[in-house]
Structure formats: C-alpha cells, structure tokens
Amino acid sequence: MVKKLLTLLCSSFFFAAGVTAQVTVQGTVLDAVTGEPLPAANVVLDELQRGAPADADGNYEIRNVPVGTYTIIVTYVGYNQYEQELEVGNQNVTFNISMQPSTVGLDDVVITAFGISRDEKSIGYAVQSVGSGDITRVTEENLVGALSGKVAGVQVIGNSGANLGGSQKIRIRGSNGLADGQPLFIIDGVPVSNRSFSQATRGRDFGNLVSDLNLQNVENISVLKGAAASALYGNRASNGVIIITTKRGNTSDRPSMTVEYSNNTQIQNVDILPNYQNQYAGGYNQSFLKYTPDGRALSADGSTLQSDGSAYNGEVHNALNYAADESWGPKMDGTLYRPWWSWFPGADFDGDGADDYGKLIPLESNPDNVRNFFETGVSVSNALAISGGNSVASYRVSLRNVAQSGVMPNSELDKTYLSFSGALSHSDKFTSRVSANYTNSQTQGRPALGYSPAQGNPVQSFNQWFQRQLDIDKLKKYNQPSGYVSWNLRSPTNTRPLYWDSPYFSTNENVSLDDRNRLFGKYGLNYKVLPNWDVTADISLDTYDFVTEDRIATGGLEQDWYEVAKRSRREINYGVNTQYQQDFDDIYVQALLGGNLRTEDYNSVINSTSGGLSIPDFYNIEASTDRPNTTSYKEEVEVRSLFGTATIGYRDLIYLDGSVRTDWSSALPSSDNAYSYYGLSASFVFTELGFFDNQDILSFGKLRASMAQVGDEISPYLISPTYNPAANYGSSPAQTVPNTLANPELTAAVSSDIEFGTELRFFNGDVRLDLNYYQSIRDNEILNLDVPGTSGYSAATINAGEFETTGFETQLGVTAFQNKDWYVDFNLNWATSESVVNELSDGLTRRVLESAYFGVQLVATEGEEWGQAITSGGYGGYTEHENGGNIMNTAGEYQLTLNKDLGTISPDYNGGFSSNIKYKNFSLGFLIDFQKGGQFYSISKMFNAYSGLGKSTVGDNILGNPLRDPILDASGSQVGYIALADAAPNSGGYLVEGVDANGNELQVLKDPLTHFANMFSNKEAWLYDASFIKLREVNLTYAIPSSLIESLPISRASVGVEIRNALLLYSSVSGVDPSAIQNGATGFSFWEGGGLPGTRSVGFNVNVTF
C-alpha cells in the first residue's frame, strides 16, 4: 500500500512540475477542530471569480492565477465562511485552510427523514446537529454516552465506566411518557436496534446495542426531537429520532485515495468512592471475641470455655466477629488479634512461606482497601480507514479494533468494527449505494450489579456490607488448597463464608462471557427520472446474534450454576420512494411519496442449570442436577406504511411543510390495525424582508411553528389472552393465568406536539441563538396499568392516560474570537421540561412506575407532575411538625409518615456547555454538563451508615467525644440513649435532633448503630438532590505542522490528550456521582445501590493521514 501511495505522490509531483510555467494556488481544506479534510469545500478567489472544489483529501488547486492580491473565500456546508487576503507572486502558492465548524450556522444543512439534506432555514421544527468533532472529542464507545450534554433537551442517564460496556439511556424532552420509551436510531438510513440487555435491578448489564456503531465513522448526528420531525419515521419515532450519518468516500474527477490511521490509548481509574471510616473494625460491638489458639470460643473475659463452661487458663486470642458484615467492631488501635486468614491450617497468605495459622497481627486500618481492589483499566483502539473515489464510484472502508481491560478485576472487552460504504453510478440515471457494517463484540467478566446478585457484587459489599480493616491483598489469595476462602467466616472452626465470598472469587470465578455479531447495512438503487425527480428503492438490514454465558463457580457460597442464552434478531425494511424537487423563480417545491414494509423477527433460547452442577466446574447445561430451566421465545412483527410529504417555499422567506403517514401494524387487532397521523410546519425567515437589509447586527432570523402527531409502537401478543407455562412440579407440568390482562381492543396511541421556535444569528453568525418551546400530549398510551391485584390481575394492558410535557430549549453559540491563529467558540445547551399526568385511567389515580429495593416507589399521580418518589411497603418519611422540625420521641426515634410523597425526581433543567479553542496548531475542547434538581434514592448511602462503614458513623459528637463511645447519663451509667441535656460531659452517642409532638425541640444522644438501623425505615433521609456540574470531556490536540512531515509520505498528523469524566465540579452529595447512578437499563434511574463507582479516563491520540 505504501508503494501505491508513493506512486500517487510521485505522480502528483510530476504533475506539479509540469505546470511550473503557470502560477498555481493549491492547498488543503481541513476541519479546524478535528483536522479532517473537507472534500468538496468550495475555494474561490473572489476577484477572479474563479475557484475549485476540494477533492476527497481536501486538496484544491486553482491554476493560471495572475500575480496580485486576492480574497480567498472558502465555503462548506456546516462551517463558517472563510475569508483571507492572499498575495500571489510568480511562485506557486501553497495555502492551507482550516475551516471552523459552525455548530449551528447560517447556511447549515441538516439531515432529515430519509436522509434528505435540507437547508436548515427551510425547516419548521427543531433539529439539532452534532458534528463528528463534538462526538469524538473524547473517545467513547457508546453513542448514547457521546451525546451527553451536547444536545438541548437530551438527557443521558449514564452508567459507571467501571461497568464495562454497560447500558446507557437517553431521554429526549423529559420523561418519555409513562412508559419511558427510547428514541429510534437510524444509521445511514438503517433503523437499528438499541435494545438493552441489562437485568432489571441486579445481575449483569450486557449493554445497549447502539454501541455497535463505530463512533469514529460518524460524520454527523441529527437529533429530531419532536413529532413534526419524526412523523415520517412512523410508529417508533414517538420518542424522537437520532439520525447518524457516517463518513463516505467522495466521487472525484481525479481518482484519489486517502488512508487514515489513528490510535487511542486510554487509561482508566476509579474516581469517586464513598467516604469510608477507618477507625473501627468489623463486628457489632467494640469488644474482641476471645478464642483459644485452636478456635474454641471463650467467655468474654477469656476465663471459661463457652462449650461446657469449664475453666480455661491457656493463651487467649483476640478475634473479630468475622461473621458480621458490618463495621461496628473494635477500634483499630494496633491491638494484636487474629485476622480471618489466621484460621486456615497450612495456608500462607502473607507470602512469607510460613503457615499463617495462629498468626497475630496488630489491628490497623487499611484506608485504601477498596480503591486498591480496582485496577487501572487500559483501552487501546487502532483504526484504519481507506476512502477514495473516481468519477463514477466512491468508497470508504474502515476497520477498527478496541481492546479494553476494565477497572474491575478480570473484566475485558474486545470489539472489532468493519464498515464499508460505497456508491457507484451505473449510468447518468442509475446510482447504487451500499453500506455494510459488521461489529463483533466479546466481553469477559462483566460485573454483577445491584443488591445481592447471586454472582456476587464486590462493590455492594464494600459500600454496604463489609469490615473496614480488611486487607485487600489477603483476599486475593482466596484459592487455598483447602478450597475457596473468604473473610466472612461463620466462626474460626466453621470457615464456610456466611454472606460473602472473597470479592476476587466473585470477579475471577463467577465470570460472564458474551459474544455478539452485529450486521447492519443497506442497499439502495436510485433512478434519476429527471434531474429533479428521482425514485429510490432500498432494502436495509439490521441483525445480530448474541450469546451470553454466566456462571457461579463450584465451591463458593452459592450453589454452582451456569446459564447460556442465545438471542437473535433480524429487521428488514423494504422501501420505495419517489422525490421531486423544483426551484422555480420564487417558488421552491419538494415532494416525497413512499412506502415501507418492515419485518422484525426475534428469537431467544435461555437455558440455565437447576439444583447445582452434577460435575464440579463443568459449565454446561448437561451438568444440571435437576431439570434445567429453559425458555424459548419468539416474536414476529410486521408493519406496512405509506407516507408522503410536501414542502413549498416562497423565495427564501417562507416554507410550508406537510406530511402524512399511515401504518398498518400486525400487533394491533386485525379488525382495526391501521392508524394515521400528520405533521404540519412552517418556517418564516423574516430577515429576508427588506426591512432588515440595512443593518449588520441581525444577520439571520427565523420563526418556526409546527404541529404534528406521531403514532406509538405497540408490542406484539398483547391482544389475545393466554395461559402461560409455569414451573413444573417434578415431572408434572403446570400452567398459570398471567397477571397481566390482555386487551383485544387495543388501539395505537398517537401523541401530538405543538412547537414554536426561533433561530437568530447575529454578527454573521458569531452569535447564534435558538429558542424552542414545545408542548407534547400523549393520549391513550398503551400501558400496563397496575390494577388492584384483588381483581385477579396485577396489571391490565389498556389505552389510558393523558400525559403532557411542556418544555423550553435553548442553544446559544458564540464565536468570541477568530483570526488567523485564534479561534474561540462557546456553545451552551439548556433545557427544561415539565411533565404532568393529566389523566390516568378511569378511577385510577396513581400508577407505580418502578419499585426500588427497600420501600421506595416511583409513581405517576393524576393531576401531578410525573415521577414522584413515595415510600411504600410500610416505610416512611419524616413527620413534620406544623411549626417546623421532625417529630420524634425521647428515644430519638423519628415518627414515620407512611406512604409519604417525597416529590418529583425530574430535574429542573439540564444542559451542557462546550468550547472549542484553537491557537495555531493547538486546539482545546471541553464539555461541561450539568443538571439542576431531581432526586435519587441512595441505598448505598443508607447501608453505608447502617453497617458502620461510612464516615458519618464516626467522629466526635457535639460534646467533643467519639460518637461511638458509650452513652453515659449524669451519674456515669451506660444507657441506650439520653437527652443531650442529661448526658455526662464525656458521653458518646450520635446526636439526633427533632421536635416532640408539641413542637418542642428534642436533642437526644443515641447509639449510632441503633440510630442508623432505625433510619433504614425512614426513606426520606436517603433521598438526595441529583444536581451536578461535571467537566465531562477535555481534549487537547496538536496538529503537527506540515513542515515537519513534508519529507514523509504523510499528509497530516496530529497527537492529542483527552480526559473523560475529568472532574465532578459540583454535587450536593458526597461519595456518589449523581451523573452515573443507573441501575441497569430498564428502570427510571431514580435510585442507586450496588452500582459501580464512576471512573475517570485519560487518553492519548495519534492520528495520521497518508
């Protein structure tokens, strides 16, 4: 290939040499931020009225230029117009041009439905584009995560980076109805699945599928937020559409080829961990347990044997209560004691070659034990892309591999992306386009999440149930000749773990594996009937097969187990459409008519062993001791659609747009399976009016309005009652009536949007302001509505509810400074929305959206804002006195108000602030995203206190005494609690404050163990403000000057440093990152518990173009 390159270079030298007689201006047009070439950028020497388009490599050449001074003007879609004085003497001039992307420029083109590029000014609804520079500012594998903070009104619900390849979730314009649906993703015209394979609240998270897209291939992303924009995508577009356009080769009269190589190497480390205490060891009280050296239990003073009460005079060893998975134990003050690992005869844990049985060590703290468990993750990405074209064909091939090791021990991910896209003009009339993308993703050791997954979740243990003194290195040696060992011994003589395996056992032995093949692509044939009329027929495919394996190893706490699941899906779309476009003098007309047939097939077979493995460590369904659990599932859906759209424009002043669509869905009752919806929008470019001619402040102004509907997707098999198989009793099969009542009369839901907006550009686009207001009403959504179980069903599938979201979005862009060396640009996205449940179902006023563990639910209540957290299941919140204060008794126990409404979880607003700053060859980009308001329930914080692991459970109390010290009354006697006023000056105890039933202030010193155990029932105490400001992305790139690489067969090169999740700048809660609290992908993300810590990654980039 290098040879070929050299040949190419030589020939161009030769070519250049042949024209020395004439002065030529040549150079390369590049994106100033990414350094990517800009093919087809138009370069003009203004005074000569002559110019040339750049080729696929961004090279341009203008020949026969007379000596003189010219203004060189470069224009390119999506970039600010470039103007520069240029002096031309009698030597050839090489002049390279860097174009600044205009995130929202004057003459932007946006990609709308069916890949139609349209001038942004002609669009009557909100579309926001994100360019490749913003997408790949830092390397990220998940498209959803890459959108965070970049689009107004888009909320990304993130996941910890420690959750290798885990699911991320997106909400466009607030809560997506009562069902929290996800937007539709379209990659180069192919609708692709973004299904998430995450267990609901605990277990493994196998990620969301749009992560199969190689983000380095992305040219542009358009986010269609409302119904007007998305109506043409039909019944899956009701939660918005995200349209991704990938990079392509370009046809060019001069055959060309570009080879790009890039490397990205990242190192990743755990960032935020809870604030642990480092003063008290494991146990339930501060006394050591006493044992004989061989592990027989002694009385508290060590004088008698517990087993028979006989006197004992031998050596007494201090021990901890290893069975306790809490840390209320003895002070870590250096007292000699028997660590857990001193009770295994013949085992060597400290590596000195000697048997550690009977070893006594000082009881000391290990403040970094948890942090040391995590490893430094390393990710290496290598990418190669070759693109080119000639006059009739163009292509781009890219290959990329990412090999990553996670911060959780033994977690690894390996991903390979292979893409091809090409276009071929068969004749003047016929053009074919093809794209094919193959992704293989293989992962090992995805961490188990949530509360007590059977596979073991070390993070849950560390943050909720642990002993603070534990030395993490010793736990690494869990595999001893006697078997697997753990710190959580039942007793010195019964060393079987009680609740917890060694955390390393969980990560190294209970290993998940998964392997996914993904293929998506499209073939389209376009026939140009007339220059302005064409017909396109295409077929697109998205398919995957996904095998996941999970296991619980033989020899640990839990029964050994193996599961293998195979899931596969295929979606094929067949489409035909015809487009007509005509620009008359004052009138612009565009129309499209089309039809689509979509078929979806999904299959899964999930098998797992039951009753343990018959052969130890044989991970195979064959090894199931009992009848294995097995389910097979199949789903088939077909949707047929007809649609049309038409646009009429008058001058550049007014555009009117209309669309209509009808879908026939196989999932609806056959008697009534069609539904239709429409969209109307208008755009009015008022700056085209003569009134604005003679001013240079407002360069562009547009008002727009739209109203539209979009139909909702419906799942198959909801309409016919069935009797579901149930677990066998021995060899007797069983069947059960499902808990959800089917509804043979379902109709498709249609949501309606109204939207108003304006786009303003000041000072030739240096200041850009978009404002947008919308109201969206979802009517008669198809819901699994909870009904009182006493009816025999716990839920009914019905059309119900009216759900209204109103919101306001704004984007502000400022190019603060721009000259030959400098470019400083800022962008702000800000959005607020409020969703109100106007109506539920007849007689039902409340719907449970999700139940978190331990008594907090998320509900939608008629007449109120969507998404209130309430306490449930007999748990409560504070009872406030009318004069303020929380009512409690003299024992320091708060009076609980059951079923308490704790307010909405929705944020007040959120957004992102980003900047691109360039100085000469350096460019700096950063993104800050933020959220104000919203709440989440922290189970980690709750148990962190409950178990005495957290910093809040230690320290000095108001009297200046350690709060874990005994509580003493005035006479010095130990009590369980006491009024502060009656306490001895040297009393310990945690200060609990409130008021009595009459509103009088109460201050009580209370035993912290009891207090935090009681607070388990008070859920209000564990609800936190979810506001945050986060410096999410920072990137610094240095483009190597062409003078340095002239002698190499390299046309461009750059190096860079990037940081992802650089800094949590603000958060009202410590020890938890509110921006990464997701528990799996199925929920509403309003609680965390047993989640992984956030990570920070630092990466290094090298990009070379040949």
Binding site: Y284, N285, L289, A297, Q306, N321, R490, S491, T493, L498, Y499, Y527, Q559, V576, G595, S610, D626, R627, S632, K634, E636, E638, R640, W664, S666, S670, A674, P716, Y717, S720, T722, Y723, P725, A727, N728, Y729, G730, S732, A734, Q735, T736, V737, P738, N739, L741, D786, P788, G789, T790, S791, G792, Y793, L844, T845, G873, G874, E893, N899, N1014, F1016
Partner: protein, 491 residues
C-alpha cells in the same frame, strides 16, 4: 424535441408506476397479516389440571412462610433481626389473588362455561374440578382473612368487570367460606377425580375429608365471636368425616420444589430455634424438640442423634443477636429443613386438639376433652417420629401437660402452639384466638409496638390503587398496620 421528451416522460412514468404496483403487490393487502400476531410463546388454551397443579404449589408459600414463625417465636433470627422486631408493617396479599386464586377461579369458569366444559374434562369431571377448586380457594381465602381480616372477597377476582373490588368483613368471608366448603363437598360426585392433584392424587374421598377438616378449623376460629354458628358448623363438619392422615405439602429433592427452610439455609443461617419454644419443651422432656432442632455445634457430642442438652435455643429478644456465635445455637432440624422434608398443611394433632376444645365447650363431638387432648398430643409426637409410647405417656401425665378442664385454654393453647410448629400463620392465628402460651413482645420492637402483631397491614397498592374501598376497609377493621385485633380475635 418537445415531443420526444414527452415520450420519455411517459416511459418513465410507466416505469415508476410499475415499481409502485410491484411494491403494493409485495406488501399485499395492507391490513391482513395472517397469523403473525398469534403468540407462539404462550398457549392460548388452558389445561385445567395444569392450572390446578400450579395453584396447589402456592400452598408451600403458606406453610413454609417465616413471618408467622417469628411472631409466635418458633424461630428467632440470628444476625439481622428486623423481622423479629416487626419491622414490616404491611404485607402484600395481591400475589394470592393473581396467583392461585385466579388460577382456581379460571378452573371453575372453564368447567362452568358450556363452551369449554367438555374440553377441560382431562382435568377430571366438571363437578369434581369445580369442587376441588372451591376447596382450595377456601384454603387460601381463610389464610388471607386470618392475616388481614377485612379483604376483597365477594367482588374479588372479577378482572376487568371490577378493577376496584370492595372489601368484605371477616364475618362475611368466614360465613361464606364455611358454606362454600359444605356445598363444594356436596358437589363432589362419582365422576373422574381431579388430575394434576399433587396432594391427593385425585382421590375425591380425600378431598371430602380435607374439606371437612378445613371446615372444622374455620368453625373453631369463630368459637368466641359466633359460638352457635361455630358449634353447628364444627359438629356438622366433624360428623361428615375428617382426615385420617396428616396432610403435608410434599416437597421434592429438586431446587424448583424444595422445602423453603432448606432454601433459606443454602447459603445463610438466619433462623435459629427460638429459646422460647426450645426451653419450654426441654423442661417438659418434650422429645419433639429433638426433631425441631439440630444440635448446636458447640454442644454437639457428634453421635448423630440429638439430645436435649445439645439443643440450645436462640433468645428471641436478644438485643444484639449478631454477637451470638452460630456455633452456640441450634438451627432447625432435618425433619423441618431437609430438601424434601414435608411441611404440615393440616394434621390429626391439630384436629384432635380442636376436638378437645370443642368437647370442652360442650359441643357434641363424641369423646371427652381429655381423650381428644391426649390423642392430639400423641398424634403430634407420632407426626414428628417420636412414637415411643412410654415417653409419650410420661409426657402427657406430667404436671403442666396433663389435662385440667379448669385450665383448658392454657393447656390446649400451649399444645396447639407446639403441635402447629412450624406452620407459622396457623400457629399465629390460634395463638391470637386462644391467647396462650404467654409470649413476650420483642423488647426492641419497631414503631413502638407494645404487643406482638395481631394483624397484617395492607399493601401500599391497596391504598394507592383502590383508595376508596381501602379507606372503608380500614375503618371497618379499625385501622391499618400490625396491631388491629381481628374480628374473631375476641376475648
């Protein structure tokens, strides 16, 4: 030129038209999808015998539940004692309605509806299926009524006909349950017995006896609040013939159908035998405790049998049970928690003790209170494999056990408490009714409870989804939560 362009236009138009026609043909008629939407994953027809099996397996969740066993202090919790301290005030009953009750109701419907009655006769004759389903329904409804008191009954299980069923008083429910059992028993005919029956293998005579025995249990519960109705129902049921063998839930040596106590002890050790019951039984040389409990590790002489001095109960009200090492306490015995150890549903011991009480109350049940009392104790010993008559006799004849008509409530109450072990809910009901033995509330009770719970609180969903009826129920019942005295819990 103009002319030729038109020709091209026409030609092209025809081509386009052809493409569209082809597309339309490809798509077929737009609204006909054939059988695509027929669910391949779940059958659209029911086999009633399979529904019946499924409903019966839910009995395990009644007889194997732990909550009641803590209230009556059969067991005490080791490290995490929140349940012993009555932390949870509300319990969810909806699973019983959506689970077994809905399945049983569907069996009745399918056997009643002329359109399906014939098709479902693989499950037994229509009449027998309906009868057995009704009996099982009574079993579940009694458990629900005994825990929550006022619950939806007459309007329950009607699906979309009534998504917000009203609640019925415990009196209404009990009255109807008793009459349901009578008429269900009468409905049992000579047709084919029910299939899919994991309790009686379709033996309809057994079903009759089971129904009569349940009727005795129901009737006795009303002894204090509706004595005459209780008397006649009890006498009637007894004369119709009670069970002749103990009825157990049959667990299997497989993880899907294993004893729930076995399951609880696979990885954890949360429940020790309570000192409340262990110490009392040891003091009376009650050998049943040797089956109830395993030796404590520290006290075990490792001879493979359990001795009285090896059984060490866990103090129910211990303030910090996590400090009590596992090695020093006894866990449930293998008779209780082997993987396939059966758990009692209703036993001869319970019924004989019921007969003793009936006789004591002057109901005509034949025999004396004492004779039934002794028979009940012996049946219980036999049930636990303690068949040595000399030991039984010695036990029965000692003070504190031997029958005394003047102290019948304490004696029968105590014996019933032991005999119902480890059926926590039934033990709790009888303890609430008889008020014996005297049990102390946990000293660290949550929510300032000063008495052992006497009811279960309603699930949150009752308040949120069926608010009006819930409010009415709470006022009928006299409050939500754990401390309401239910209707039959008088005196």
């Amino acid at each position: 030129m103009k002319n030729s362009k038109t020709n091209i236009m026409n030609m092209v138009s025809n081509k386009v038209l052809t493409v569209f026609i082809a597309a339309a043909i490809m798509m077929g008629s737009c609204d006909d999808f054939g059988n695509i939407n027929t669910d391949p994953n779940n059958p659209s027809v029911a086999k009633t015998e399979l529904l019946f099996t499924n409903a019966q397996t839910s009995v395990s969740d009644v007889v194997g539940a732990f909550t009641g066993t803590l209230y009556v202090q059969y067991f005490a919790e080791t490290q995490y004692n929140e349940d012993s301290r009555y932390q949870t005030p509300s319990f969810d009953y909806t699973g019983w309605y959506t689970g077994p009750l809905k399945d049983l109701n569907t069996i009745i419907d399918l056997n009643t509806d002329p359109a399906t009655a014939e098709d479902v006769q693989t499950g037994g004759s229509n009449a027998n299926q309906i009868a057995a389903a009704r009996i099982m329904k009574v079993y579940f409804f009694q458990m629900i009524a005994d825990r929550w008191g006022v619950v939806p009954y007459t309007e329950a299980l009607q699906g979309s006909e009534n998504f917000r069923p009203a609640f019925d008083s415990q009196e209404t429910i009990y009255t109807d349950l008793i009459s349901e059992l009578s008429s269900a028993t009468d409905q049992i005919g000579n047709g084919t017995g029910v299939t899919g029956d994991i309790f009686f293998g379709g033996d309809m005579n057994e079903w009759k006896k089971f129904a009569n025995s349940l009727r005795m249990r129901l009737a006795l519960r009303l002894a204090d609040v509706a004595p005459s109705a209780a008397k006649s129902a009890f006498e009637d049921a007894y004369s119709d013939g009670m069970i002749t063998n103990d009825i157990f839930y049959p667990y299997l040596n497989e993880s899907a159908n294993q004893n729930p106590w076995f399951e609880r002890f696979i990885t954890r050790t949360d429940y020790g035998i309570s000192a409340t019951i262990a110490d009392t039984m040891k003091a009376l040389q009650d050998r049943r405790v040797l089956a109830f409990a395993d030796p404590a590790q520290n006290a075990d002489n490792a001879d493979g049998t359990t001795q009285f001095n090896e059984v060490i109960g866990l103090e129910y009200g211990a303030s910090e049970p996590g400090d009590i090492p596992n090695a020093t306490i006894s866990f449930p015995g293998q008779a209780v928690r082997a993987q396939d150890a059966p758990l009692p549903i209703i036993t001869l011991a319970e019924l004989h003790l019921a007969l003793a009480e009936a006789a004591q109350r002057g109901w005509s049940v034949g025999g004396t209170a004492e004779s039934h009392y002794v028979a009940g104790i012996q049946a219980s010993w036999n049930q636990w494999g303690m068949t040595d008559v000399a030991n039984q006799t010695a036990y029965v004849n000692q003070p504190g056990v031997s029958y005394d008509a003047n102290n019948w409530e304490a004696l029968i109450g105590f014996q019933k408490w032991v005999a119902l072990f480890p059926n926590g809910y039934e033990g709790w009901s009888e303890w609430r009714r008889l008020d014996y033995p005297a049990l102390e509330v946990h000293p660290d009770a949550f929510n300032s409870l000063t008495e052992i719970p006497t009811s279960h609180g309603y699930p949150t969903s009752a308040a949120t989804l069926n608010e009006e009826n819930y409010n009415a129920a709470v006022s009928t019942r006299g409050g939500d939560g754990l401390s309401v005295k239910l209707w039959w819990d008088a005196n």
